[in-house]
Symmetry: C2
Subunit: 234 residues, 2 copies
């Protein structure tokens, strides 16, 4: 019997207790001896917080980052071929969504290793639920271009598509550039377009608010350096 | 102080225990006396399963369906204006994502009622994580057209867009039409296009598999009448 690849969501910030974690995540982690992780330090800290008696030294960690090659992923999954379960966890939220990991999942499918996604927080899903915007049709763009002129053009395109297809448009930014992205959005979008800003979701200072652009022009949200999801519907 | 609108995810099928439910969901439901729900019968059954001593008779239920008017939603949210928390739950998964609810959330924002999304299962999110397809860019289409010729045209359009934008395309179907949709997909898509079929997610017979169309032509998945998410990337 081959092992399985478990996809393990992690909390969106420091504000969590073991009770907030799905019991399937806790049970899976208790049994796992092979773990693919984005940052070993935070992975270890997470395991210790869930179970202070966790035998960290018995766990083999595999590093997942932009330099990891398909050959290395194949190597990581060898232990599953040999009957061991393997876990995959990323920095915050769900592996492989706006986060690395899809490549190793894809290789698992090719090698007929069963993939099991576990339930946990996704900032995109939570933001969409709470936005009040269309949840029957939506698109996620990841990061927009960094250069301001290109970014403004992209925002206009995204706004047009949302109108044309009645499709909620979702995107993110590196937290220290949030305000700059916000300023570009209110500069180029139509006054009647709806914008949801969802910041520090699940944390003490969670902020989620949907308003028309014309109203956002009167209010700068406190999102500097805070993980934020932007959602737009024209 | 106004009350808040809590968005409460529910399990994706009958296979769950109270340990599978996020503690914030349990705590929130214990305190709630006003609940907007899609099906009162299943909402009551869910509450009783979480806590057999739950004082169901003390809870005021508001019905959410396609006939509910904005005026009725305003009325439902009056109790939040008066300081009470209100819960919103739908049949399976996250409210307002491929499920009703976004309209009442939108009205909550307009009335400055804080919206709090709780963590729970979303079949779309879980399917995307487990697909191994692009999780940095994706779009959800909801249901495709019912008429076969229109549906085939739509599938072709969706496949084209996935190629043009490297965007994973996600859609669903009424479970008794799954096989018919599957047949249309393998009939019109390119042999090299990747298709993920994710069925009965989180349940005992969970089935998640990504393969190229040319391989799916050799295998009819057992998805008849099972809730299934389809994901495609060309």
């Amino acid at each position: 019997m081959k092992g399985k690849l478990f996809l393990i969501p992690t909390p969106l910030g420091e504000n969590f207790t073991i009770q907030n974690i799905n019991s399937d995540v806790i049970k899976t982690l208790q049994g796992i001896r092979f773990l693919i992780a984005e940052e070993l330090k935070t992975a270890r800290r997470f395991l210790k917080k869930l179970d202070p008696s966790c035998p960290i030294d018995d766990i083999t960690f595999f590093v997942l980052n932009e330099h990891t090659t398909p050959q290395e992923f194949e190597q990581y999954l060898k232990v599953a071929e040999n009957g061991n379960n393997v876990g995959l966890l990323t920095e915050a939220g769900c592996p492989a969504i706006a986060d690395p990991g899809s490549q190793v999942v894809n290789i698992a499918h090719k090698n007929e290793i069963k993939v099991v996604p576990l339930v946990g927080p996704s900032s995109i899903t939570l933001a969409l639920m709470a936005s009040g915007l269309n949840g029957q049709k939506f698109a996620f763009w990841g990061y927009l271009p960094v250069k301001q002129n290109e970014r403004k053009i992209k925002i206009k395109q995204i706004e047009k598509r949302s109108k044309l297809e009645n499709q909620t448009q979702i995107f993110i930014e590196t937290p220290y550039r949030n305000i700059s992205l916000f300023n570009d959005i209110i500069a180029v979008c139509e006054p009647e377009t709806q914008l949801c800003i969802a910041s520090n979701i699940t944390q003490y200072d969670e902020f989620i608010l949907t308003m028309k652009i014309k109203k956002w022009k009167l209010k700068i949200p406190d999102i500097h350096k805070k993980p934020t999801v932007f959602l737009l519907l024209s």
